[in-house]
Subunit: 156 residues, 3 copies
């Protein structure tokens, strides 16, 4: 019963985490394949390895901020933003491979989504502190606003 | 009381996480030592650094999937699979150092364990959704089967 | 109500995690800027990239051990140790950029804080097992001692 309650509050986050793990494995297999392929250009391996490394560097940050946002405020918008982040990451990875090495995309990606998730954490904690010290609880309003605001991430 | 409950459901996962942290520190100290050692071959440093980086790249993925599996389904099989993963990682790291650079092991390792943990997550969430929408709860059966299945990871 | 309880036990950890995410973004932007700057020395990019990578390699370990310590024992000393770690990391990053490449600081940093957090996890689990098998609960004493001991991290 108790354990069911736990799953209820996090299952969307777990689903997004699982999808991100599948994506990581997909990236890693790309690297593995380039690694084993003998008659490859060094630059192709260099590029896929660099793309993978940039994605992996940002991965713990993304996970931490998504779970914090999901736990502090509400899981649905956090999981939705997570899905968008994974799409952006996929596009970044593919784009990195296709580019010539002179014009690689930058080191950072998904800044808007990370900012949104951080903002969710801030709002969640602020709301908690407000409820603790002043007894007022705006959680429902905040959750509604957050869900609506997460749709803005769809804008290109 | 409440806090005790929390610890009860995760203490095995915490133990495995602690062991993995100790292993990370062990890996990092290997790199540190090669780094400081002046009369070393560049290739030895190259190799230990690469082995450490491959292990570190896969570490967040492993942590995420182990904790999700432990929270969603049950902690004992997840922690057991985590221990097996750490042994595989140790073997990979040692094997990487011993090899000549022409025949390094691949980029990926522990694929079977990550798949098993992902499967546990899927089953846990599926079971939760089944319980939510149809009112049936097979959690006990699933936990028993999972515990039995985790023994299969011991096969070489 | 239930969800409020959750936030109550973790909000300090979430705050520290958020600050660490901001620091990560700061590091990443430093790398990004060096990356785009055309008339830069290769060594400057090399150095900032290496400093960022060392910090990122240790980041999942830090997060895992801080959250485990916070969940198993008590969040205030864990969050305090986390803040100290972030300060040490900032100093390490800045120090790395300023050094000549002959005398870079080592690969590891913040060993004392990671050890302290690991010790907190061990104590928390040990205390839980003691309470489970012998019915004695020293959690309050342990928490007081831990809070006092965390002040020792301030020593240089």
């Amino acid at each position: 019963m108790e354990s069911c309650k736990v799953v209820e509050n996090i299952y969307l986050l777990v689903v997004v985490t699982l999808i991100s793990v599948l994506q990581n494995v997909f990236f890693a297999q790309k690297v593995e394949r380039e690694c084993n392929c003998k008659n490859t250009h060094a630059s192709a391996f260099e590029r896929v390895s660099c793309a993978n490394r940039n994605c992996m560097d940002a991965y713990p940050t993304f996970l931490a901020v998504m779970w914090c946002a999901g736990l502090c405020l509400s899981q649905a918008p956090a999981a939705f933003a997570g899905i968008i982040y994974l799409l952006v990451r996929q596009k970044y990875f593919i784009g990195y491979l296709g580019q010539t090495s002179q014009s690689t995309p930058g080191y950072l990606f998904g800044k808007r989504i990370i900012s949104f998730l951080s903002l969710m954490c801030f709002v969640g904690i602020f709301n908690y502190l407000l409820g603790r010290f002043f007894g007022s609880d705006y959680k429902e309003y905040v959750e509604t606003i957050t869900s609506a605001a997460s749709a803005l991430l769809l804008l290109p």
